[in-house]
Amino acid sequence: MMKTNRWLFLIIAFIAGIGLGLAYGWVIDPVDFIDLTPDTLRADYKADYVLMVAEAYRANPDPGLAARQLAIFGSQSPTSIASEGLDFARANGFDASDIALIQELVTALQAWSGIP
């Protein structure tokens, strides 16, 4: 009986230790994230970046340049990145003129990349 209690206490202590470790590592002092890549950006920042590229594209209509600028978001195609930005802009009440700019960029990228 005594031996069973001892094992029970050990297991409880072990599980409590795991719990404490997880709480410390995930809540109290989680890994500090610096030097992140743009694909981790919040959707609104991504959409604003797409808008910046669209604004610049209006003045310098070079779809290749715009595609390179959007390529920082990782493995997605520039067209889908811009399309996601457009969807976000439409869903979140962006100014109509800004939506038009992004739409223009999306259309140009579709034409540039051969997407019908």
């Binding site: 001892r6 206490f9 050990l10 297991i11 202590a13 072990f14 599980i15 409590a16 230790g17 795991i18 719990g19 404490l20 470790g21 997880l22 709480a23 410390y24 590592g25 995930w26 989680p30 890994v31 994230f33 610096i34 030097d35 992140l36 890549t37 743009p38 981790t40 950006l41 919040r42 959707a43 920042y45 604003d48 970046y49 808008l51 910046m52 590229v53 604004e55 610049a56 209006r58 003045a59 310098n60 209509p61 070079d62 600028q69 920082i72 109509a96 003129s97 939506i99 038009a100 700019l101 739409q103 223009e104 259309t107 140009a108 034409a111």
Partner: protein
Amino acid sequence: MKRIPFGILLALLAGLGLGLVYSWVISPLRVVDSIPSALRADFKDEYRSAIAGAYAATGNLERAKARLSLLSDPDSIDALNAQAQRMLASGEFQQADQIAFLASALQGNGSAFVPPPTPTAQVAITQPVIPIPSSSPIASSTTLEVFTSTPEFIPTQSIIIEATPRPTQTVIPTIGAPYKLIAQESICDSNLPDGLLQILVLNASRRQMPGIEIKIAWDEGEDKFFTGLKPELGNGYADFLMTPNFSYTVQLARGSDVASGLTAPACQTSNGDSFFGGFKLTFQQPK
């Protein structure tokens, strides 16, 4: 005296260690919804470039300021100037130019906003988005100005956009006033390299301007160089080594007075030794 439960302590510590390994190494919190200030330095540069590109296209300084604040740079102007210099050094002249302009605008020289030269294609993309006049009379009237100013344009662009553009997008940018040569002095300083031509470029507020292209020509050739590549001497500083007995002409690429007939002057030290001096030119944008 009660015995210390070493076994339980050991189990607790083992569990704690396992929990930490799992939460820090095996499965750390996944980063989503990060903010621009957490980006790696090179991606922050990309972000600044995009901001500067958008500013160069729209001239919307407030929006550029708001975007720059997301990067949490201690000093946005310094960060932009430093990036412009890095880009100049790596040959990315157009982007460096845009970033230097944004820095200049943030320094309070908003009137100096001069978008980069408009390529022919810029007009071409403006034309397809011409709205149907009946649905957007304001935009139509603005667009007519563009037609007037570019009569040679043939609207053959195949991309059709149905959305209504912002009328402000079709405003033809004004060109900034050309820089004035406000000082030209010959320098006889034996501590300086022979034939050193020093150039300082200031904006209307007498702030030094980085990223300004300078053209220099002589009988047998020409070259170009930029301000800001020696930040330790000032963001608006640039220099060039003149060959003795050659005559040089200097002008800023974006328009300025011309300094001509620049020949390294013959100088003498107090000991009577001969050496070639140089010139110091100061250009400033008029108010």
